[in-house]
Symmetry: C3
Subunit: 352 residues, 3 copies
Amino acid sequence: VTRLQLETRRRSAASAAEHLANATTPLIRDAWYVVATSEEVTREPRGRDVMETSVVFYRGRDGNPIVLQNRCAHRSFPLAQGTVEDDTLRCRYHGLRYDREGRCVEIPMQSHVPAALRVRAYPVVERPPLVWVWFGEAASDPVQVPHPSWLGAPGWDRYAGYLEIAGSYVHLHENLLDLSHLSFLHATTFGTPEYARAPVEVAVDGSDIQAWRHVTCELPDIYAVPLGSQFISPGLHVNTGHLKNLELATAAIATVRVAQVITPASRERTHYWFVGHRDFALGRPDIDDFMQRAQYAAFAEDQFAIEEIARLERIERACEFSEAHLPSDAPGIAMRRRLKKLADRETVRGAT
Amino acid sequence: VTRLQLETRRRSAASAAEHLANATTPLIRDAWYVVATSEEVTREPRGRDVMETSVVFYRGRDGNPIVLQNRCAHRSFPLAQGTVEDDTLRCRYHGLRYDREGRCVEIPMQSHVPAALRVRAYPVVERPPLVWVWFGEAASDPVQVPHPSWLGAPGWDRYAGYLEIAGSYVHLHENLLDLSHLSFLHATTFGTPEYARAPVEVAVDGSDIQAWRHVTCELPDIYAVPLGSQFISPGLHVNTGHLKNLELATAAIATVRVAQVITPASRERTHYWFVGHRDFALGRPDIDDFMQRAQYAAFAEDQFAIEEIARLERIERACEFSEAHLPSDAPGIAMRRRLKKLADRETVRGAT
Amino acid sequence: VTRLQLETRRRSAASAAEHLANATTPLIRDAWYVVATSEEVTREPRGRDVMETSVVFYRGRDGNPIVLQNRCAHRSFPLAQGTVEDDTLRCRYHGLRYDREGRCVEIPMQSHVPAALRVRAYPVVERPPLVWVWFGEAASDPVQVPHPSWLGAPGWDRYAGYLEIAGSYVHLHENLLDLSHLSFLHATTFGTPEYARAPVEVAVDGSDIQAWRHVTCELPDIYAVPLGSQFISPGLHVNTGHLKNLELATAAIATVRVAQVITPASRERTHYWFVGHRDFALGRPDIDDFMQRAQYAAFAEDQFAIEEIARLERIERACEFSEAHLPSDAPGIAMRRRLKKLADRETVRGAT
């Protein structure tokens, strides 16, 4: 390899990198993100940092979730410290009261309430067990909530978990689309030798980004590792595992589906919920527990990876580092190209 | 409300905001600030971070406080780690010794001491129980020390406290001038229903910024909540409560005065001392304790508010947020306009 | 002193300061630095942050140390989390395997391995008990490893220690070259009154920067304080103490040598190893323990000084501070001028 060739490669790598989202790419606002699970939203207000802002959520009298800007329009006090009165939320600093649309409806010190006095109210759609919120400037469309029909549906038993990751949501998405790390990062959790050998099949078709791995194995246990991995939206990723009996050549005898719910708190911190579903061994809480523990063990390894990557990126901010891509990265690359396009589109629009 | 009207309002709000001090406004140096209470200043040197610098203070042989730059002019070691010898302070790194004017008077390694070798000595005025220091470039004038005659005077019983607040001194000043938050933030400490109903009277006359609330109530207890609130200087705020018997139509039968002493450590951290005085129930340490505990409870709520506001401002650095002002904010707005003018004046002068 | 004279002095001080390295000067890459002691380098990979990057080190099958870039070229995972296989290191994220030259030699997901896929391998020279690494862009020359012949040689008994300092390596070097602080900072550890009185002799000759202090004393103990201090390279400083019996006018009867090993983790953090040698009281582990404890006590004082200086520099980033220099600083000044020249040379070269 000549020096010129190396330089050419380096330049083309740098130029390719420009089209891929990474940990510094601006967040994508025109998308639905989960801010809480249904059971977290009660009549008690609760605050959470999401999408480089802070929101407060509580449940209205009709049972619907309400999500407002957490920062009081008057003197920036967190409304999450306040009290819910009917559908309204009263700030604990000066008693200003906001309705579910974010309009101020009471100022204790005066009788007149300026019409312009309000906090932002976020479009919210609850699809149990998740509460989705729209942070974009564009108009929200509930039809676009990326809620798969099986998620939270009857006929499945579920287990769930949550991790807060000190790293970028882009890296988490890439981790999830990447089936090739199972045998290594998860060697002692769910990366069996059969996995290492199994062929991966990738399908990138417009916005449909999927990877499948066909694993032939003795089922080691009741627990089936997810085999298919699909990027749905910036806020959602889905893993699917179909278990088949190859001797009988029948359809799948059992299925596991995991909603991987991803919400950036900021570019540096990520909320990560997972909600697993299975259609076998129903009604057995011991299996729920087993699967939840197994996933926590494996996902903690992913968390470790993403946080270590963030740490190295921080240390080497000044270093020239050009990431190498492998054919197995195709789904991740497609996803990152997509996120970059979405982010660029918002940047351009924001500038006009 | 049309879109144009909204935009007009937004612009006029932004333009008004330009004239108000906030958490990012440069500190005002031409003012007297407390760096310590009298009892903190002893023959043992002690360091403290104030006004974006670090000072060391100790008491000279004549009993007067000495305040010097904490950073040794030679190799930046903190003089507060050193030892006092007569009126001088010896650095513990190389033994350089400075006198009360900050002049180096001894270098152990050599006989010659360059005349230019010195640390900054700050003008200091002790008005027990407080020690005031001048950080400005302009000449200091002890007459301008904002020490009220009653502060530390005989005839009063006192209690005192200290909090370090991870937030802006501007927000603390505004909090203190604002009587309308008592019934909410302090609902369980000193915000009684009578307070919520009581009218507020505001007086802003040049540099005199005051707010009074006339509360009619059954005295719930020996403890009288301060009713009047006055901005004195960037480093001092005073609360006054006059207790009257309206039936007897006499003058005040008892008075409570609290010196709220405010010294920025930086724009992000604030030293906060309070020194309460009362002219009734004299000689009763149980009442001192009661009042100190009550104030700590309430002021910790203010600390919480100011720190939460700082946290939200930090999270939302990039967000467009335009603060809404209410008529009850008039004293705070007047104070912030004043601070901004003082800061601007120093910036202009610094540039010439 | 007139105002003009003061201004002239201030300007000439500022101009002199430009030629001295300080805590913000870019690190010098063309130099050998210790990344680990010999006993830290085993068949288990281990990571360490050095020179504003992160490296992984392990020992090859031939027993030689291998030092690679810690960040996998593929997805930035720390190789230090991986596993050693023969001379290669396998990443725990996707199983990529690198040889001792940093070339990728296996990608589990594919049969082809691109020739350009590699991590940086650092030139490494082990001189027990230390492992030296070259971080420069210029070609490395093992002959330039600043290993003194006595270091780790037979005929000496040794003790060693390690501190991580939250401050600049420039300040640590200056501290070590400066014998004048012993009587003050180390007053209760090894600064005896005899030290305070002893004359210092300074020799700065091109790259040779030394300071000697001739102390006449009753030996208080078996322990001899190092008397000579020599800057060897950005990564090494040597202290030497010759103990003589002046009555007998013989040559030194005993010698203590301490290798002060200094490796910047970054401009703000410094690795600091010390390896003491003595040629008397051989074979007495109680003396090893005594000397190690004594050095830890004294060096912890230096650590305190350097960290406090870093803290004051941080607080006063915005302040104008012009460091005063004394004749006794000559060795430190010479060293800082040298470091600045080396740093400037690399900056200029990097720009072309």
